[in-house]
Amino acid sequence: MHAYFTLEDKFIQAQQLAASLIELAASRGVNKDKLLRGTGIFYEDLSSDTLLISADQLLKLISKTRQLMAGNATSFLLGQRLFPSNYGAISEALFYAKNLLDCIHILNSYRCEIAPLLCTNLVWTKHECIIQFKDAIGCDENFQFLLELYCTAIHSSLRYLSNRRVNVAYDFEFSQPRYIQEYEENLGFKINFNRSTNQIRLARQELVALLPNYSQVKRDHALHKLAQQSRYQFGFRERVIQLIANNSQLNQADIAEQLGISNATFKRRLKQHGTRFLALQDEYHRQRVLSIHCDIQRSNEDLASRLGFNDVANFRRAFKRWFGLTPSQFKQKFRHG
């Protein structure tokens, strides 16, 4: 098992998302040569089962597709056909899973294969199971496209596997797009925009019903096959945030040492992933606040002390930097989030 992957590590199977993307674009009249130009992917190589591409190549391909395919339905169309067929043993495990809870666990453990560009985080509240999405590697303007894609994929596959309508709610950080009809059509009507985080919320009670295809032997067999493959677990950004989380006192040089690279290489890699050390530190704090915030309303003093601040004024200043809002403004805005 490798520690983390960077933009340039070729580990993503082209047969999965990339192939579906190219196929969809071609069926909509996009010229294949134009689509692949500059991505470093060659059409002839795609037929091989073993072609691996990097996150950078996948992002370039997505940008190209968005540029060449008219309309806003691309991400949703792709999401509908991504699962459960494209992912070999993972698809098998999902297909024979016990219940939707089991599916979510499988999705979460193999998320680097399924959604290498996003990182997911499972949060459990009393009544809900929440899947939070973050940018794992620096997707920038493609992040929303990827969110649309994977939310649709999860929505349609949960429905397909359980053979009924599943009650799912969505929160997104961005504001309501013009093409809201695509969201409604593919994700249902429980969608909130301008929220503090990107997440899918499922009612816990809905997740435990047995699925019609459940077969313990076949499911375990698929998972056994998967366990033998080596795989990445984290993207570069995510890994750095993890290390900060382990010990928030560490500075840039310490983290570089823990990653086993020189400080200069670390700096270069951060830049390549479109970020800085300070930005990732802030991101860590943002996540902390959101996870503490999830359950109960707390006072500023309490929050400050839990986050390791001795001084509330200092805390307020930092908080403003993380969210662009003061703690009380934040609480007011996301009271129901």
């Binding site: 009249g29 060449l68 309309g71 013009r178 093409y179 009809q181 059509e185 009507f189």
Partner: protein, 356 residues
């Protein structure tokens, strides 16, 4: 005038004006991308509108409109040849470059207009008239341009006289053509009934179903809200379309959508408007109708779609589909977003009732 002058002059001008002949010569410039595309598409201009180039400019019209293209080229060639044959070159310091710029620009733009007329219009009377009219205008323009470089034997030479006559004839022909075009457009608007309201916005047409998209409907609803009129809105959704798409191919799914769109349009009144909302969801706007009558049309559409024996490419055996429909009446000044939310809700409720 020496033979040498003639040849040099001809080549020099041909480079600028006769670009349609030039196309055939540029294949050696293959490093330059747009030109390569040009010559490549000339080579494969057999198919009328190949699916792979729907968004790019298509040059297959050259074969389709071959007669007109040849006619334009011939007339232009005759003009140029007779000008060079009869004229003498002016010395370089006698050329007024401002005039050259103005007249050259006009000539070039007229050429571009002819190009777009030929590229975008089907064969027929209006196209012929427009092309001929513009060609006459082009001849006048190019003669005007040429006499910046060339002088003729005397002031009453026939080419001087000819300079302004074709332009007039061309203008008259184009005026007649525009009138004909207007007549043609009235007929076409009739054909587009139920697919288009009073506004035309080609960027909002959905490629799959050839209906307008949700944005167009929203704008229509906002217009209606502004004028404080009543309307009735229906939403249709094909049941289990996702399952169909999964089972068959995307191409089959698209074809099913297209055929369902046709069925919906066929069952509407002349004053109604159908648009594709999203995915397998269609939205229909009824103008000035009682809820009861609208309900009747909605039921007719649902029945018609249920009887569509759609045959996917893979199996060739009939697949039948049911649809769910929602229907609401607008209250005055409801916004488009509100109306659409209400009709979607109604659709979900009615589906829930049907399924249970």
């Amino acid at each position: 005038m020496s033979y040498f002058q003639f040849v040099m002059g001809f080549n020099y001008n041909a480079a600028g004006v006769l670009f349609c002949i030039k196309w055939f010569k540029v294949s050696w410039l293959s490093q330059f991308d747009p030109l390569r595309l040009f010559s490549f598409q000339l080579a494969c201009s057999g198919s009328l509108l190949s699916r792979s180039d729907t968004d790019a400019m298509n040059f297959s019209f050259i074969k389709r409109q071959l007669k007109l293209v040849l006619l334009v080229a011939t007339l232009l060639l005759i003009t140029l040849v007779s000008a060079f044959y009869n004229g003498e070159f002016k010395p370089a310091d006698a050329i007024d470059w401002l005039d050259v710029l103005g007249e050259g620009g006009m000539t070039l733009m007229t050429g571009v207009w002819i190009f777009f007329i030929l590229a975008s219009r089907p064969q027929g009377r209006v196209t012929n008239l427009l092309t001929l009219g513009l060609t006459c205008f082009l001849i006048s323009c190019s003669l005007d341009l040429l006499d910046e470089f060339i002088t003729y034997p005397d002031e009453h030479f026939w080419l001087y006289l000819l300079e302004s006559i074709p332009a007039l004839i061309g203008m008259v022909m184009m005026t007649w053509a525009l009138y004909q075009w207007h007549q043609e457009q009235l007929k076409l608007t009739e054909q587009l009934n139920r697919r288009e309201a009073l506004i035309r916005e080609h960027t909002q047409i959905d490629i799959t179903t050839q209906l307008y998209s949700a944005d167009y409907m929203r704008e229509q609803l906002d217009l209606i809200a502004q004028s404080q009129q009543d309307c009735t809105l229906a939403m249709f959704d094909i049941d289990d379309f996702a399952k169909f798409n999964r089972q068959f191919s995307l191409a089959d799914g698209d074809r099913l959508l297209r055929e369902v769109a046709d069925i919906i349009v066929m069952n509407l009144r002349q004053s109604d408007l159908a648009c594709r909302y999203a995915g397998d969801r269609f939205i229909v706007l009824f103008n000035q109708i009682s809820l009861l009558n609208a309900q009747l049309i909605v039921e007719q559409i649902c029945t018609a779609i249920q009887h569509l024996a759609f045959k996917p490419n893979q199996t060739g055996t009939a697949e039948f589909h049911t649809v769910s429909a929602g229907l609401i009446e607008s209250k005055k000044r409801d916004s488009a977003a509100d109306l659409i939310r209400r009709v979607n809700l109604d659709l979900e409720n009615k589906r829930a009732i049907r399924v249970n």
